[in-house]
Symmetry: C2
Subunit: 220 residues, 2 copies
C-alpha cells in the first residue's frame, strides 16, 4: 500500500475505534490508550494523526455528519415531493442512529460537546438550512400549507428531532427512537398538510422508519 | 445561628457557587477549588457537604428541578384549563432558563450528564407524567382533540422542549429561547385545538413567554 493510502486507512481505523470507545464510555471517561487499543494502533500512530482527545472527538463528529449528509443527499436524489423527502431524511437519520456506530457516537459527542467546552454548531445550521429550503419548495408547489413559517418550522423540526433522539437515548438507550420519530411526524402533520393528505403521509412515515432498508421507487 | 441552620446555609451557598461555575465552564472544566472560592467556603467545608464533583452536579440538578417544579405547581394552582396550564408551565420554565442561574446550570448539567457517565432520568419522567395527565384532563373536558395520543404527545412535548432550549443554548446562548418556545406552540396548536380556538391560545403563548412576570387572574 502506498504511504498516503496506509495513513488514510490508519486514520479511519482510529476514528472507528474512537467512535466505539466514546459511545460506550462517553467523552469524559474515554481515554486515548483505550482508543489506540481498540483501533489496533500504537499510541505513537494515534498521536501522529490526532493531538488530543478533543481532536479525536471532533473527527468522529465530522465523520458522523458526513455519513448522515451523504445518506440525506441520496434520499433527496429520489426526486420525491419536498415533505416526503423531509420525512425520509429524518427516517434514514434515525435508522443510522440505530445501526451505525460512528453516527451513534458522533451524535452523542455533538450533544456532549458543551461539557468539553466546545460548541459544535455546523451540523445544526446545515440541517436547518436544508429543512427550510425543502419547506419552501413544498410551499411553492402547494404541498405544504402557506400558513407555516418555513424558517420557524425548519428550526423547530431540527430542535425537536434532536430532543426526541436524545430523550430516547436517555430513557431507552435508543430502543424506541424509530417509534418516537413516527410520533413526532404524527403530531406535526396537521400543521403541514390538509386532513385529506394525512393518511398518505402517515404511511410514508411508517415506511421511512421501518427497520428494513427503504428504497422508494424514484419514479413513484 | 444554630449549627444545623448554619450547615444548611453553607450547603446552599455551595450549590449556588457550583451552579455559577458549572454554567460558565461546563462540567468537564469546572474544578472544586473554583467552586469553593466562588461560594466563599474552604475546600474542607465543601468536602464536608459533597464528596465529589459528580455529587455537586447532582445537587445542582436536584435544586434546579425543585425550583422549576415549584413554579409549575404554582402555575397549576391558578386552575386554568389544561392546555393553558401546559402553555404557562412551559413559559415559566423558559423564563427561569433565562434568569435563574441554578436553573440554567441544572439544565445544562442534566444534558451533559451522559458525558460524565450518569443518566439523569427523573426530571424527564416527572415532566412526561405531568404533561400526559394534563393532556388527558384537557381531552376529558373536550378542550384538546380526541385524536391526540396523550402519552405520545406528552413525551414529544418534553422531548421537543428539551431540544428547543438546547439548540437555543448552542446557537444563541439562549438569547432566543422565549421566541423559539413561542414557535413550538404555534406549530403544535393545529394538532391540539380546532382552528377557531387557535388565536386565543396564541395570545396566551405570547403572554406566557413575555419577559415580565405573567400572573393570570385565577378567576379568569
Amino acid at each position: 500500500m502506498p504511504v498516503q493510502e496506509r495513513a488514510r486507512v490508519t486514520r479511519g481505523s482510529i476514528v472507528a475505534g474512537a467512535a466505539a470507545v466514546f459511545e460506550e464510555a462517553g467523552y469524559g471517561s474515554a481515554s486515548l490508550s483505550t482508543v489506540a487499543e481498540r483501533a489496533g494502533v500504537t499510541k505513537g500512530a494515534l498521536y501522529f494523526h490526532f493531538s488530543s482527545k478533543e481532536d479525536l472527538a471532533l473527527a468522529v463528529i465530522e465523520a458522523q455528519h458526513a455519513l448522515v449528509t451523504k445518506e440525506a443527499r441520496r434520499t433527496a436524489s429520489y426526486g420525491r415531493d419536498a415533505l416526503s423527502t423531509m420525512v425520509m431524511i429524518c427516517g434514514s437519520f434515525a435508522r443510522q442512529l440505530v445501526r451505525e456506530p460512528v453516527v451513534r457516537a458522533g451524535v452523542r459527542l455533538t450533544l456532549e460537546a458543551s461539557a468539553f467546552g466546545q460548541q459544535v454548531t455546523k451540523p445544526y445550521h446545515d440541517w436547518i438550512r436544508t429543512m427550510e429550503s425543502l419547506t419552501r419548495q413544498g410551499q411553492a408547489k402547494g404541498e405544504i400549507k402557506d400558513a407555516v413559517d418555513a424558517a420557524a418550522f425548519a428550526r423547530y423540526l431540527v430542535a425537536s428531532f434532536t430532543g426526541v433522539q436524545m430523550l430516547s437515548t436517555i430513557l431507552t438507550e435508543r430502543a424506541d427512537v424509530l417509534e418516537r420519530i413516527e410520533d413526532m411526524w404524527s403530531i406535526l402533520l396537521p400543521s403541514l398538510v390538509p386532513d385529506s393528505k394525512r393518511d398518505e403521509f402517515l404511511t410514508l412515515v411508517r415506511l421511512s422508519v421501518a427497520d428494513t432498508e427503504f428504497h422508494p421507487n424514484p419514479q413513484a
